[in-house]
């Protein structure tokens, strides 16, 4: 760090340029870093059909959205781990979750689960269910009408 002696040599004109370059380099660095990390860390949203067709890497953080199938919800003897099946009319994925289920999480309702595939089971860390009766997970809102009808028919 002998910069104290050498900075006397920076011309006034150049100081602004130096600052600008440093700022730009840092910002572009941040941008590139963000882009790189995002491509690795973003968790993708799957519906059961996609999940079965193109299985994601084991252990990679993903989200799974669909309908909780009627009659599939079972509580294990420890009282806090539940197993259920999420379906979209085309495929079914078994899900395991340990924890307190959100209010209004019931069979036949829509759910988005955050977690990862372990073997053939989706292990959920978190369940996002509807907050009030009008709330539909946004991703579910985008399912085609046909898909939803099928799902509803399937799960009723």
């Amino acid at each position: 760090m002998n910069s104290t002696t050498s900075t006397g040599g920076i011309k006034p004109k150049h100081q602004r340029l130096v600052l600008l370059v440093i700022a730009l380099v840092a910002l572009i660095g941040a941008g590139l870093l963000a882009a790189y990390a995002l491509s690795n860390q973003a968790s993708y949203f799957y519906v059961p059909a996609d999940l079965v067709k193109v299985p994601p890497e084991q252990g990679r953080a993903i989200r799974l959205g669909g309908m909780v199938e009627k009659g599939s919800l079972k509580t294990r003897p420890d009282g806090i781990t539940i197993d259920f099946v999420v379906g979209d009319g085309k495929a079914r994925v078994p899900v395991r979750y340990t924890g307190i289920t959100p209010d209004l999480f019931v069979e036949g309702s829509g759910v988005v689960a955050e977690g990862r595939m372990e073997g053939n089971v989706f292990v959920a860390d978190n369940l996002l269910a509807k907050h009030d009766e009008n709330y539909v997970p946004r991703q579910m809102g985008d399912m085609s009408a046909e898909q939803i009808k099928q799902v509803v028919a399937e799960t009723k």
Binding site: T7, I22, G29, A30, D103, E114
Partner: protein, 651 residues
């Protein structure tokens, strides 16, 4: 009648804003001096009118006037008083009226008290403020009129979402709004200074209290919001990197950078263009935040009733203001002359480093928040969470905090690193010891919390070093503010790192009478009984908890069911000790009659919010110090001017 008065007054205020913009604009043109005198009174009047309009809306909510659409949709006659009041701004229209109110009132205050700035710069600032608020007037009056009547009064209101029926709501959104809107004043100052080519220390001094004030409110709002989410959502986390949380964090980051660069400009006359640019960015982030919250374009826990069309309105406003400001900046940037120089080892350079790091974090948060939108355009649905934000943000945040320990010790303009190396060695040693202790005593914790604890310990110590060698009684308040603020950040960092490193969790299905333990705490489920509140009923568990076998305390977590509108909410129970917090949640009843319970023991987690409040308190000290200093300076200047005038007269 009240609703009609409120609406009429709002229209009048909008008309005054048009006039204010026009008068300000013509006053700045050659020969337009005649109108210069009306700009200030117009701004004050506009502020008063909007405040009146907002009070009319509050009155409608307090009376529960069900012939008004907004009241019928969001309130209920049985709601407790505080939530009737908070319901005023707990919805889209009301919150936009609150936004305009704060904006117009602060414009009025600027017009009343600002005397340091050149008169033409002030007029340009007020015209800019009128221009910005006009967009929001249009938004309110054309697409979200809060005073709209129903054809027939509703028999009963729809009520307020149960998640929002919390004391936190009464204070959290207005606090953030004051922060957001305070940045609009900073934005107007930046525009005013650009228009009149007056970017200099006077401009920075005029802007600084507003930035500081906005920043204090944002800090409090974020801290309170984080605590609110922590105890009401029952997830046991304090920050979820939810888009709406990021929307409040981004203006804060920009305001923090602006605050520091405005300080450099005010006291050293350097970083001129940079400060103006940050003024524009900070307000852009407020608008991006409002856009994200109000449009519901991103999935969020806050996304209740949202309307994409309103989102496009805000997006258009964002494009006009920010695009316009950037064009103005591009045109005028070359007229902003170079400020004072400084060496690479100096207080200024360390502040530049921190500014750049803050902008880096801002870029990372912004990209992460918008990334799901970008990929959606290509058909892929993603969500971005802690695995992205935590490590990538830390790459910038940790070096910044290291620099925070060193920067305040450096001299302005030029310094010799060897002068402070002995002083810096002390906190460096503290960091190293903390790291060693963590590695030895708690092996296996993640890298980030480990670094966080080490840097936090060093910074907590280093933040007090600027006071070394000073006479504590004569140290300016603003220096105390810096010390307390930096210390607060270190405290918050230690709290956050400790929460993420040492939290223990216990999930269990329990019968009444069962025992469980979490961390050093043993718990017993005593009973589960129904209770009732004003507009809810609940199941309430009674739990006795004892820390390492000490005297037991009781906790009452609840599962509440609301009737209007129907909804459920878990009400967690907290027990705070000096060294941590016990968090209990009551879940559902299982088929076998056992109750699901969830407990966390979170060591030192209260430090997190305590630190946030300390940061805000530091800001408050600095604000008081600065304002007092400015008042003193004005008095002295007046005195000098008075003496000069008298001497002239004597001659």
């Amino acid at each position: 009648m009240i609703a009609e008065i409120g609406l009429a007054v709002l229209w009048m205020a909008a008309a005054l804003a048009v006039l204010q913009l026009f008068a300000g604009f013509s006053a700045l043109r050659p020969g337009g001096k005649a109108l210069a005198g009306v700009v200030r009174p117009l701004a004050v009047m506009q502020g008063l009118l909007v405040a009146l309009s907002f009070m009319a809306l509050i009155d409608l909510f307090l009376e529960t006037d069900l012939s008004v659409k907004l009241v019928a949709a969001n309130s209920h006659s049985m709601k407790p008083f505080i939530f009737k009041l908070a319901g005023t701004w707990g919805n889209h229209e009301g919150s936009m009226l609150l936004w305009v109110t704060i904006m117009a009132v602060s414009g009025g205050v600027v017009a009343l008290v600002e005397k340091r700035l050149r008169e033409d710069t002030l007029i340009a600032t007020l015209a800019g403020q009128a221009f910005v608020s006009l967009g929001f007037y249009a938004f309110l009056l054309l697409s979200s009129n809060p005073f709209e009547r129903l054809p027939e009064p509703a028999p009963e209101g729809m009520g307020l979402n149960p998640l929002l029926q919390d004391v936190g709501l009464a204070f959290h959104p207005p606090t953030l709004y004051v922060g957001y809107v305070g940045l609009s004043v900073a934005f107007s100052f930046a525009i005013g200074a650009l228009i009149t080519r007056d970017v200099g220390p006077a401009f920075a001094r005029a802007m600084r209290p507003w930035v500081l004030g906005a920043w204090i409110f944002l800090t409090i709002g974020i801290t309170a919001g984080s605590y609110w989410a922590y105890y009401t959502l029952g997830w046991g986390g304090w920050w979820f990197w939810d888009p709406v949380e990021n929307a409040s964090l981004m203006p804060w980051l920009a305001a923090t950078a602006l605050l520091h660069s405005a300080s450099v400009l005010a006291s050293r006359n350097a970083l001129r263009a940079w400060t103006v640019m940050l003024g524009v960015i900070a307000f852009s982030m407020s608008m991006v935040g409002t856009f994200l919250v109000r449009s519901g374009i991103l999935t969020s826990v806050h996304a209740f009733a949202v309307d994409p069309e309103r989102g496009s309105f805000i997006l258009a406003l964002l494009a006009i203001y920010i695009g316009g400001a950037l064009v103005l900046f591009g045109v005028r940037a070359n007229t902003v002359t170079e400020g004072e120089r400084f060496s690479l080892v100096s207080r200024e350079a360390s502040l530049v480093f921190n500014n750049v790091m803050l902008c880096g974090i801002l870029a990372i948060v912004l990209l992460g928040t918008l990334y799901p939108l970008m990929t959606e355009a290509f058909g892929a649905k993603v969500s971005v969470g802690p695995p992205y934000f935590n490590p990538v943000g830390a790459i910038f945040a940790l070096p910044m905090m290291v620099m925070m320990a060193v920067g305040p010790l450096l001299r302005w303009r030029r310094d010799n690193p060897s002068r402070i190396s002995a002083t810096v060695a002390v906190p460096a040693l503290a960091s190293a010891l903390a790291l060693l202790a963590v590695v030895l005593l708690a092996p296996g914790i993640n890298l980030l919390p480990m670094l966080g604890l080490a840097v936090g310990a060093g910074l907590a110590l280093a933040s007090w070093l600027p006071l070394r060698g000073r006479n504590l009684r004569r140290t300016p308040l603003s220096v105390w503010g810096m010390v307390v603020g930096h210390f607060g950040l270190a405290v918050a960092l230690i709290g956050a790192a400790s929460e993420s490193a040492f939290s223990t969790e216990r999930l269990a299905a329990m019968n009444v009478g069962d025992r469980q333990s979490v961390g050093p705490i043993t718990l017993r489920l005593e009973s589960i009984e129904p209770v009732a509140g004003p507009n809810w009923t609940a199941l309430e568990a009674t739990i006795s908890a004892s820390y390492k076998g000490g005297a037991p305390v009781t906790l009452h977590p609840q599962a509440r069911t609301f009737s209007s509108p129907p909804g459920e909410r878990t009400e967690s129970a907290l027990h705070t000790r000096w060294n941590g917090q016990l968090y209990a949640v009551l879940g559902n009843e299982g088929d076998d009659g056992r109750w699901q319970m969830r407990f966390w023991w979170k060591p030192f987690v209260p430090l997190l919010w305590l630190g946030g409040l300390l940061v805000a308190f530091g800001g408050l000290l600095a604000l008081i110090g600065r304002v007092a200093q400015d008042v003193k300076r004005l008095r002295v200047n007046d005195k000098i001017a008075f003496r000069k005038a008298r001497q002239e007269a004597l001659k």
